[in-house]
Symmetry: C2
Amino acid sequence: MGVYMMLSAVDLARRIEDGSLTPAGAVALCAEAITARDADLGAFTVVDIDRAHTQAERDAVALAASPLRGLPVGIKDIMDTVDFATEYNSPIYRGHRPVADASVVTMVRRVGGIVLGKTVTTEFAYMQPAHTRNPHNREHAPGGSSSGSAAAVGAGMLPVALGTQTGGSTIRPAAFCGVAGFKPSYKIVPTVGVKCFSWSLDTIGIFAATVPDVAYATAAITGRDLRVDRTTLAAPRIALVRTHSWDKAEPVMQRAIETTARAAAAAGASVTEHDTVPFLEEAEAAHGVISRYEAFRALAFEYDNHRDVLGPMVRAALDEGAGVTAEAYDAARRRAKRARQAFADFMAGADVILTPSAPGPAPRGLASTGLPAFNRLWTLLGAPCVNVPGLSDAAGMPLGLQVVGRFSRDHAALEASAFIERITRKL
Amino acid sequence: MGVYMMLSAVDLARRIEDGSLTPAGAVALCAEAITARDADLGAFTVVDIDRAHTQAERDAVALAASPLRGLPVGIKDIMDTVDFATEYNSPIYRGHRPVADASVVTMVRRVGGIVLGKTVTTEFAYMQPAHTRNPHNREHAPGGSSSGSAAAVGAGMLPVALGTQTGGSTIRPAAFCGVAGFKPSYKIVPTVGVKCFSWSLDTIGIFAATVPDVAYATAAITGRDLRVDRTTLAAPRIALVRTHSWDKAEPVMQRAIETTARAAAAAGASVTEHDTVPFLEEAEAAHGVISRYEAFRALAFEYDNHRDVLGPMVRAALDEGAGVTAEAYDAARRRAKRARQAFADFMAGADVILTPSAPGPAPRGLASTGLPAFNRLWTLLGAPCVNVPGLSDAAGMPLGLQVVGRFSRDHAALEASAFIERITRKL
């Protein structure tokens, strides 16, 4: 496994439940790891261990009885927090202190999560790389835009962290950092108080060590029946979908997918193979049209008033967005709607799709957050997506498998992901 | 017509275009009306005439050439503005100055609108009445939650104002104040930077004197082909839909709808009559489930940290929201999705639905913003809705006719509304 021992949310929660660990003890575990590792990795913009510790001690009993049991949580710095600066990695917002927490931040606090700090985002959660390093090899990219959340969980500095996904910003960094990442169905978790890039695509993402861990955390935060750590995992119907991006996947990733599918079939899963899904993939182009049109409006204030301090990638995306007509946008939205119908029809025959989370392991160097070629389509469809961690290449860099579920069938997606994760442990 | 002469956006824009009026002159018209009338009506939370005048003079040439031609615009105080306090009518936000404009505010400025001030909203755009008065009779309610925007346009203090609608917050105050109100199709205008109550329902609304005026303003702000002031209006296919709320409509409103439908038929429209729409109206209950579930999360920070200063109606709605389960919410969302399909099927046979905007004229007294019985269903469906002004009861209080269009066919909805508005002038 990885360079660092990760912190399992399920395991810590059980130990707090049975009294062998306190919430303050969980904070101390994170604090120790952060002190030892974050200078190297740069996953956080800010942490407040003292406040977290004080809260954990003061509310120890209530926290231990809460759904999240006082677990420390990291918040991507694209989400508003009243008690930490919220900067969206933009100089426009240097030192900005919002007047209210984002909805999902309050939801974390409501169920007994302790906000330990803010994690690094790329600028406005777009593609310009930030300074965070990959915990498996600091010469490699952590992926983006939820770079800090993925790296913090991957380095054992946090059991749970929140991110977002507009293209591939949860699944890809989870894959690169070797952690479980979960993008729930569109709109199930509110993005209120999260800096908007594209209101039709922005989705909250959750990071944890393994699939049962990420399911546990999401169940607690949303109040939904999503846990898979107490379940006998049923063998799913898996559609191995190569998609038109298959050629972009490195041989090591292609082999990982195919080997996993064979092993899943041997373990009782039904597996069908598809090079493409009819009427579906041609919709992927709609993602770029919708996201750019909306970003030009979502970031209208910044573009019109602070264009000179926007990074080159954000500025270029907004420049493009300025040129997208309402007609082109409407046509892209219609195309996406038809694709969602085609996807629902296809998924009548499968519980989940198995496909790469990224073309391969994290690229060397920090010049790119990696390609979203295997992510945009599923985000456009609003489908639940899971990065299943566990495999790695010969150099020890993680290889992420992506499981895509039916819209609004998030539990089934997580259960199939846990099944596949267990398969990979035996490979 | 009303007590006050309204300011027509189309007329002012034409005069600025041909040079017979300047943007500064338009600001002066508004300033004069505000000075004379707003002490009585209470439509604004704040105005800045001096700044507007300075901008109008400084940028006179560019503004006159812009799509909105320097017209003064009022912004409902539920929308963030950097240069005006933004208080959402809540003591929690007294004096709050956001760090960025809401997207739609920047969009107004982009096309040459001058933001003259903020208009009164009810608390968090929910149902607790504010202090604004109806410009047709100050003893009557202006409707809510976009009370100030509707009253400001109705009193001739502004040619254009922005509001929002989650239940009936644009159509109802427009009806009560005798102005054109337009709720575009869901998601066409971004709500980024607008205080959220329900992310599945909140929609931007636009107010202006007449249907061509509101179409003109919306066309300019959105860059969409929506104008109907230069068009020969085709006779629409109208479905008079009484809905299950018909018994809640006062006789004067029932007669107004039926008389208008007959006159439209005489003028060449095809009119069919329906007491109800199969599979559609039973979905209305989903509106309450969705809005309360989402409000409990959208306003999570305020509920958890400032519950003691929430007004009784908002607090009661959030208390209810706390009790809505994820299962009930998901069921309501599925029901809404099926209703949208039933609506699309029904609308294959009609261009628009004609139905009341409200049960009757504005109620006497300021104790209520009025019933949303004729509004919630269409908001849930995401359909474009127009309040067509022009009719009034024996006491001179406005009676609003509601035109509901097919999803994403906003131009057709506005064109049919303009046709119907012209019909009412001859009644």
